[in-house]
Symmetry: D2
Subunit: 286 residues, 4 copies
């Protein structure tokens, strides 16, 4: 199946500011991209626009990052992509076993540690209380995912940039990233490596779910590979398009600005298309 | 000049636990190491000891890490090293200029972000108040280092594993790592990349200063390279021996244990020796 | 001058819940109230309403509190008042001296301590840095008020129930109560007793300022009496109508509910009237 | 039975500082005090001592407080008391029912609210998870007390002045006051009024328990009265001698100093005596 994703984000900058964007698809998707996707950065005013030079690099997590000096004034970031995606839901593997820490690949170990939003140190005893009785492996990972889903409610108004997993644990309300931060932290506390993921998640072959946006989910490492988990939408989904992975939202922010950048427009969409490029309608709501 | 360093750390483990140690010298010192330094890991009791298998790997920051499955019982980690060190103090370069963020090497950018103990997001406005008036570059870095040194006092009893830079800012008391975490956070907030460093710091060619231990310091990136800074001992020192660098103490903990490990012995020493291996006496106290 | 204030607040309760309201005028205004003000509490549906029994008591701070068992369903709290107010602005007394702590009246001492939202212990060293050089007394109090006003910006969307003075200090954004909590904490840290105040503050004899609502301000104790301060609107105002004072917002919440109570309507207004009860128009905007 | 208590606390002050002490017995014990107990405050040096004038007042919680201007130099606070105490253990009443909030006496309501160390707002959902299934009243109060006792371990080194109930919940280690703060917060979250208590608690008619000190415990309000609870020593004790009650440790600190006061000596003892004033020996350790 084919998924088309596109976005336009605009900022107003009072003065020049360096910016980093993680708005490209993940390098692991390269062989499945139908036409060259890219990030366009433009300075614009009412009459014209001019391109801003962008430099790309791969960060220590393997993500494709873009950096540029955004000039004062109006700035537009935009892009679109078309990828061939599996038409199957997120894999389920109830047999997936949990590795003892000593068996984990060395590059996975960092995803057991605390990070900015994921205070494993502060939630490890809580996690032991809640999940110590569960069966290690897939069952435990699902238990954690479902616990977070069932104990946290979604509210856009509750978002704040410094909200940590501990805050989510006490406040029990959040947005996508908050659900995932708490689940990641609890997984790590139970010695299941977990990493934060950003990407597109449209309402693909699903009735309306409120998604269709840049989204955040997470992955756990069990039985030799990473598995997709989503504590906000805790059912399996079709059509996730991977952009970046990291320890938490700090590492993979859509944009990071080293100076003031006021958001003035935010459009993103991700949907299935047929071979002719025509959007495939959603199924009816039940 | 030659510096000999050695350590013995012992734990008691109620049951098997995977452990990671960052107790080797940094790979960048390899050409200056006199004899093969290594990490010995042994299980021991009153009668005998037996070696524990250790696997080495390099983490994403370039540090040499050791991992092993520590068996229940008594565990000893030990090692010694002899390195040829410069007999000059930490470099000073009052001309070192601050790079605009857009000029920084890509792999340095991560050291501008928030991390577990370094909440750049929460201290950026405070940093602007305190250091916004200072001259970017070396002068600003020194201003920050000295501000932390002068506003925080040292107290071993104040150490706690979850103490963050914001805690240090409000409590104004801490140990080595706390001084460095606060200074790192304030540097990043002023767009100076800063990373956390662990290593040996003996009282080398200095009268007694209370050091002679594993120590923590930090580095700032100015004018195309990293420079050593130390907000606890804010004078230049001789004879730092580098072990590891990372975003903060989370990344470079001496030991990380995935299970209970009770510390029962901690010995570490670092001192100058002559070519015959004889310790060079310290200068008299003033 | 005469000030009329009125409010209607509605909740939907899934089940019975005890509630406390601090919605009456402060007992110190009794001699200036023109007609008996009261709090009406009613259960209502589309067809009718029925009164809910209210019990009044005076709390340890001297506030007039109302308590009642709110029945499941729709609940309406309403009231109006007419008070004779001075037509002068908040008093200014640049000569007001700061009492040494040992001279303060005993019942004022509690307003030097930490409270839920006002962590004097965590901000005392910060306060010393910022205000240690200022002249004790009125000048210091004004310096603190103005510092908060100038370093914090107002944003309704930034409100959250658990935001503390330390959060306001780092985030630098908040609503009324956040400005006052930070100013109160900094005053106490400098040994100036400070208490939190709620009341009506309309746009009385002022062009539009965004007020006209239940508002929060604070009082400092200098030279033998309490003085009104307001770190959000740091100019002197006319027509504040006092409802309650306490250590911080915990003590004087407009309503405290011991169970779920979803806010469905919130209307409040406070304005000058003439002797005939006709609203006096605001002056034109400049 | 007779209990004698005595203390000597010394400070060194670099300059004059106002102080408040809550070191007298609670007024409710007046009829049971055998000889006039008092607080002596003296300035002293190696040769002599001179009294410091003390003023007494009753705070809003009904505690007997002492205030004085401590002069620069060495300061000694001392006192002793002899009280007739019941020779029975802390009362147990498994039938004690929990009042609906609307039935509570008005002056008890404040002990349901958040305070400096007791963030009811942040722990209410956690408390619901942990204790929502328990039977309201005595059983619930005991369940909370025992949960805290069983999940928190005692460690003097873990004490810090700004440790809150939420910190205790995540760190699971603390001293007396930390146990009680967490238990108080969880009780309030379940609508059981709870207040913090300080007093003497000796090893009276008990083998050695590590007590014999100023201690902290708490009280819950059930069935029309306050009941003693102690989440550190969660068995019933004999011979508690009440000093003060408040919302949390902020309100009833043994000493509060408005300036620097370095503790140089701390002696306190509380023990049973016979009618002749001779200490009654402890029972043998089991």
């Amino acid at each position: 199946m084919l998924i088309r994703s596109e976005f336009t984000i605009e900022f107003q900058l009072p003065q020049d500011a360096a910016m980093i964007g993680l708005l490209r698809l993940h390098p692991s998707l390269d062989s499945r991209v139908r036409f060259p996707e890219q990030l366009r950065v433009e300075k614009f005013d009412t009459e014209q626009s001019s391109p801003v030079a962008v430099e790309e690099y791969i960060d220590s997590f393997g993500n494709r990052c873009s950096r540029f000096l955004a000039p004062a004034g109006n700035l537009r970031l935009s892009g679109e992509s078309l990828v061939i995606a599996a038409d199957t839901i997120d894999p389920i593997c109830t047999e997936a076993r949990q590795h003892p820490v000593e068996e984990l690949p060395a590059d996975v170990l960092q995803f057991l540690l605390s990070s900015r939003y994921c205070q494993v140190d502060q939630l490890s005893l809580v996690a032991g209380d809640l999940f110590g009785h569960t069966t290690p492996g897939w069952a435990r990972a699902i238990w954690i995912r479902d616990w977070v889903h069932n104990h946290v409610s979604f509210d856009y108004k509750s978002a704040r940039p410094i909200k940590t997993a501990l805050d989510v644990f006490t406040e029990r309300v959040g947005v996508c990233r908050d659900f995932q931060h708490l689940a990641i932290t609890l997984c790590r506390a139970m010695n299941i490596p977990a990493r934060y993921v950003t990407g597109y998640l449209g309402d693909i072959r699903r009735p309306f779910s409120g998604a269709g946006d840049f989204s955040a989910w997470y992955e756990v490492f069990l039985d030799g590979r990473w598995w997709t988990m989503d504590a906000r939408h805790n059912d399996e989904r079709i059509g996730r398009v991977l952009m970046a992975t990291g320890r938490d939202a700090t590492d993979v922010a859509i944009t990071t600005s080293f100076g003031i950048a006021n958001l003035t427009k935010f459009y993103v969409e991700s949907y299935e298309v047929d071979d002719a490029g025509t959007p495939v309608p959603l199924p009816p709501k039940p």
